[in-house]
């Protein structure tokens, strides 16, 4: 290896080790900060150096061009870097790319929209004070208020704060402004949090939003009959069971979702309280062979409650609702002339792809299921990254496996593993 090659190899080794160390650091600071970190200007310089080293390697080492596997792997990495740069926020800015990079659309059933809500964070100022732990609460600390005043931006007493999903950040809403605050070590970074609507060159119509559930075990009543045997009947009014021998029969006569008891004329009366807490219950009548009727209650949330009384043990088993198996939005893409140009029922893992955008099932109207929330992401650079992925995969599999397999089959001696 000559000196030039040696230096390139050292550079490659140092860069790969550096990336490893940075990735470990990134794993410790959490996704949100890691994303900001790896998209910062110093990181962009690092990525550029990495790409340059790969290009220099391809130029200096003829084997990297001649050996197909090595070429595919290294060139593939260059493609991933290029694709990543094109798709990054800075890449959009540099290329003057005006497309919606990431946004959200809320669409009601039967309606159409081309409006995507885009969130932007514009850095305002940093505070070098440690607000130890205070980002976990909804109370805005006095010191933060003072800092805002110092910056000639007041926070009114009406301002409310909430913790964003990533835990390490806050959103403060103070009509009409919103601020985004992130903790980085002993610093708080304050951003102007702007939400603006952007228009897509076509619109999306939601025909229907629905959820599908897994089948689940229907609720049932378990009754201990003679000889400590357990038997089940569906938890439906009118269902009955012969308990055998002295015990008579049991019959479900009432079903409650929010069971309550009250005293009326010295008697306990059970009733359904629409404003009460969930307390699913069954009322069971047990008729003895002599015709004597006793009333019993079984509660799914309190199994065993009342078991100590005489008579058979009654257990109300009510599996909590079926798990959601799918969120489905039936979408149509409608172009400027009102023509339907694409159609797809999207679910999680199955986005709609149209004109360089992808639409993902993101959220929905939790109260009535009347609207859906889609995430819109533009695809700039993604295909380049995926081409790189293909190159790396094919290169690695060819170079490390298939090449040797074919050599073996061809009868030549194995050469790897020097």
């Amino acid at each position: 290896m000559n000196r030039f090659k040696r230096e390139i190899m050292w550079a490659a080794l140092v860069l790969i080790i550096a990336l490893t160390v940075l990735s470990i650091y990134g794993a410790f600071i959490g996704a949100e900060r890691a994303q900001a970190f790896f998209n910062s200007i110093p990181s962009a310089v690092f990525w550029a150096l990495f790409g340059l080293a790969l290009v220099a390697g391809l130029i200096a080492f003829r084997r990297l061009i001649r050996v197909p596997g090595l070429l595919l792997m290294h060139a593939g990495c260059i493609l991933v870097l290029i694709g990543g740069a094109l798709g990054s926020e800075k890449g959009y800015k540099a290329a003057g790319n005006e497309r919606v990079r990431e946004g959200w659309m809320t669409i009601y059933e039967g309606q159409r929209s081309n409006q995507a809500k885009v969130e932007k964070k514009i850095p305002l100022f940093n505070i070098s004070v440690d607000f130890a732990g205070s980002l976990d609460r909804r109370i805005i600390p006095e010191s933060l208020r003072q800092e805002f005043t110092k910056q000639q931006m007041t926070l009114s007493q009406k301002a409310v704060a909430w913790i964003s999903q990533a835990q390490r950040s806050w959103v403060i809403a103070d009509e009409p402004n919103q601020y985004f605050i992130r903790r980085e070590g002993v610093k708080l970074k304050v951003y102007d949090f702007v939400r603006e609507m952007k228009e897509l060159p076509f619109s999306i119509k939601l025909n229907d939003f629905r959820m599908e559930y897994y089948d689940y075990e229907a609720p049932y009543l378990e009754i201990e009959v003679t000889g400590s045997q357990l038997q089940r009947i569906p938890a439906e009014i009118g269902q009955q069971l012969d308990l055998g021998g002295e015990l008579g029969t049991a019959k479900i006569v009432r079903k409650f979702e929010r069971f309550k008891m009250s005293l009326e004329d010295g008697k306990q009366v059970a009733f359904e309280d629409p404003h009460g807490n969930p307390m699913p219950a069954l009322e069971i009548e047990i008729t003895s062979p002599a015709g004597e009727v006793t009333r019993r209650y079984a509660f799914s949330l309190m199994p065993g409650f009342g078991h100590s009384q005489s008579g058979p043990k009654l257990t109300y088993v009510k599996p909590t609702g079926g798990m959601v198996s799918d969120y489905i939005s039936e979408l149509e893409v409608i172009d400027k002339d009102g023509k339907v140009v694409a159609k797809k029922d999207i679910e999680v893992n199955h986005p709609l792809q149209y004109a360089g955008y992808r639409f993902y099932q993101s959220s929905y109207d939790q109260e009535g299921g009347r609207y859906t929330v889609l995430q819109v992401v533009s695809d700039t650079g993604v295909m380049v990254v995926f081409a790189g992925y293909w190159a790396i995969c094919v290169g690695v599999v060819w170079h490390m496996w298939l090449r040797h397999l074919f050599k073996k089959i061809g009868g030549k001696t194995q050469t790897h593993g020097n």
């Binding site: 790969i16 996704a31 986005p351 995926f386």
Partner: protein, 262 residues
């Protein structure tokens, strides 16, 4: 931790017991008996996987329980490494067989699971299966690297590679799978969340594992066998990164204030 009192469970425990016996007998120098037991263990493991197939009516590679059950059939891979790749560690493989069956026997539920929407993807199984297979190969590489460091060389009559070369060959075999696992995961991320790379800790650790082996390759290319101990240490560091990746969700609880992902 749960014990499975079912036919499936019994098959798993029998496989583990036979593998363990094979391991102990081999360590005591009774190679032939060990080999035979290993083969018997494999047959039970194959019956166990076949039983599962019959039971659920589809190729049983759809959840973690089934993937680990599949990995329990390590014998052919072990034989391939021994005979074709001429890599030692045949006895250690029996123990690896016990270790991979442990989660199937005691940790993961055998009940056909109801997958939340995010996991309903054809990518789920290949992503996990490919990763698991690469982990086995990298574990074998680590065994070889440790042999190199402590100077445990094959006996003169044995037709197997010296540990340093064997480490390299195992990493050569495992790296394509590790690469596929990473890339399938990334592609899945694009399908499910709209982004192929989200910089979350689990992703970053899997990148670190991959990079560790890149360091190994480039270092070994530069220096060849001049620093065999450093080569071995780099290979072991790769495995350490893999273990951290696997356990990160649990480990991260050691670091207060950090959020973890599944």
């Amino acid at each position: 931790m749960e014990i499975k009192p079912t036919t499936q469970g019994v098959l798993i425990y029998v496989t583990m017991a036979v593998y363990l016996q094979a391991f102990i007998v081999s360590l005591l120098g009774r190679r032939k008996v060990g080999h035979a037991l290993y083969l018997i263990g494999f047959v039970v493991a194959a019956v166990s996987w076949g039983y599962r197939w019959y039971h659920v009516g589809h190729v049983p590679l759809q959840n973690l329980f089934e993937v680990f059950l599949f990995l329990g059939m390590i014998y052919p891979l072990s034989l391939f490494c021994r005979r074709v790749l001429r890599v030692g560690g045949y006895t250690a493989d029996m123990m690896i067989g016990v270790i991979v069956l442990f989660p199937a026997g005691f940790v993961f539920s055998a009940r056909p699971q109801q997958l939340p929407p995010a996991l309903q993807s054809w990518l789920f199984t290949p992503h996990v299966a490919v990763y698991m297979m690469s982990y086995i190969l990298m574990a074998k590489a680590t065994v070889q690297a440790v042999c190199q460091l402590i100077g445990l060389n094959p006996k003169p009559g044995e037709d197997i590679l010296a540990p340093e070369q064997a480490t390299y060959r195992m990493i050569y075999a495992g790296f394509p799978l590790l690469t596929l696992g990473l890339i399938l995961g990334s592609y899945w991320g694009k399908q499910a969340w709209g982004d192929y790379w989200a910089w979350d800790p689990k992703e970053l650790w899997s990148l670190v594992s991959w990079l560790a082996f890149l360091i190994y390759f480039h270092f070994r290319y530069m220096f060849g066998k001049k620093h065999p101990n450093i080569n071995s240490v780099l290979a072991i560091l790769g495995m350490v990164a893999i273990i951290i990746t696997l356990l990160w969700v649990n480990l991260s609880k050691l670091f207060p204030g950090m959020h973890s992902y599944a």
